[in-house]
Amino acid sequence: MVDNYETDERPLLETTATDRHRGDQPMNLALEDVSYGVDGTEILTEISLALESGEIMTIIGPSGAGKTTLLRLAALFEQPTGGTIRYDGTDPWALSRDDRLVIRRRIGMVFQQASLFDAPVARNVDIGRRVRWPWPRRIRGFLERLLPRRFTGSPAVDERTLEALELVGLRDAWDRDPASLSGGEAQRVSFARALAVEPEVLVLDEPTSDLDPRNTAILERAIERSRERDHGVLLATHDMHQAERISDRVAVLLEGELVEVGPPGQVFEKPRDERTARFVRGDLLYDDNELPA
């Protein structure tokens, strides 16, 4: 399959997912009875859910419920041990590695901890685009970096990278060393890195769990902008207020089972499942036996 990223030089904000990629519409994600286990221990049991384009779905649940595993399955890091994941009706795990790569490259993932490479911010952000370049261009880019810029004439940073940084309020930080960034800034750079390749499905694993309110607000705004551009967002969070604030739908995951999916108003105010009600009230946060004497 042919990757068209290398020929696409339009500014990020002017490009829509619909006209960028191979399909006519941004991708839809569906999990059908998906299970996952390791060494005989089942972590997720028969999860079924669907993420539409232009939707923010939040996964809530206590630590150890399987949220991260669910997101890793959705982002095709792991293959389910049962059930099927479908993107636009296609099971990526039934495809060849190359064909699956095409789907993977339409998904963006941000992890709980910002993991930045030992390179300036701009190179962290444009890594996703660089891995999509054909090898001759990558080799040329590598060789150009060995020469002083005045000989190569290449710009220090390209506009698309700056556009991605602008979405998280860090346009001027493109030449900074990752070590000089605060935790919040580093996470925003991670987010810009995911956005820079215009993913049609954004998978976010508690991206704001370690952030202050200001950085959280900036990332939430970026998440909402992804929704405005018709991208699907799957977000795991411990923050009930955040889930209520930005979600279109909330999925409650308890002990590897999806117990309820619905709009925030339903899940938080009129839950249909008793376990959801207990979790929302905080009754499932700990067992009485776990409390200190």
């Binding site: 890091f77 790569l101 993932m109 992890f111 993991s115 490479f117 890594i127 996703g128 999509r132 995911a194």
Partner: protein, 223 residues
């Protein structure tokens, strides 16, 4: 008589040339072999991985004279490589230095690769990287450790005496220029002759060369 080196620059030049040619070639070959091995072991999970790692680490401490003897047995007339007529040649010295340097480069590079956080690999995969991309990004993140390994291997090779003496023979031509005489074996030779000043001067040259090579490699590595 240290100034003999200056009055006979051909001698000094030929010794330096042999030392650098042998050691840099050995390091080049060792690096080509060692880095893929380090990556394969670092990325793969297989039964016996700890044993393999332990064997590599043991290899870092191979006694050089034992390696020299081992290589000599292999390349001597009755050995399996006897037909190649390698005894007392720079090629034989390259082989022995490869054997000494490879475990050092592999071991240090392996440690560097394994110390790269799993999150880096996840991130490389998550941005749409192929397995090759993930490996290259991991290599880039581990580059300082890998460079350290290569430099440690170079240090081991160029400062080596025992095995190159055995397989190379410390031979100089009739005009005094070196055939298989390296800086280290020349130091040994001059010391035996009581030419301590010459030996000291050669030692200084060796230190300068090592500093120079380290500086160039570190610079190329971006540090």
């Amino acid at each position: 008589m240290p100034f003999e080196l200056i009055t006979e620059p051909n001698y000094l030049r030929s010794v330096i040339r042999v030392s650098l040619t042998v050691s840099l070639t050995a390091i080049f070959v060792s690096t080509l072999v060692s880095l893929p091995i380090a990556f394969l072991i670092g990325f793969a999970d297989f039964p016996g991985k700890r044993l393999v790692t332990a064997i590599i680490n043991t290899g870092m401490g191979f006694p050089s004279v034992a390696v020299g003897l081992f290589v000599l047995l292999f390349i001597s007339t009755d050995g399996p490589l006897g037909s190649l007529d390698l005894v007392y040649t720079p090629e034989a010295m390259i082989i022995s230095q490869c054997i000494l340097a490879a475990p050092v480069i592999t071991g240090v590079a392996l440690s560097a690769v394994e110390s790269v956080d799993d999150a880096v690999r996840d991130t490389a995969y998550g941005v749409g990287g192929t397995r090759t991309d993930v490996a290259l990004i991991t290599l880039k993140e581990a580059r300082y450790g890998v460079i350290t390994g290569i430099l440690a291997g170079f240090g081991r090779a160029i400062s080596e005496v025992g095995s190159v003496l055995i397989v190379g023979g410390n031979i100089a031509y009739a005009d005094g220029t070196s055939k298989t005489r390296t800086i280290t074996t020349a130091i040994t030779f001059e010391t035996r002759r009581g030419e301590f000043e010459t030996a000291l001067a050669l030692g200084a040259v060796l230190i300068v060369l090592v500093l120079l090579v380290n500086g160039i490699v570190m610079r190329l590595g971006g540090r």
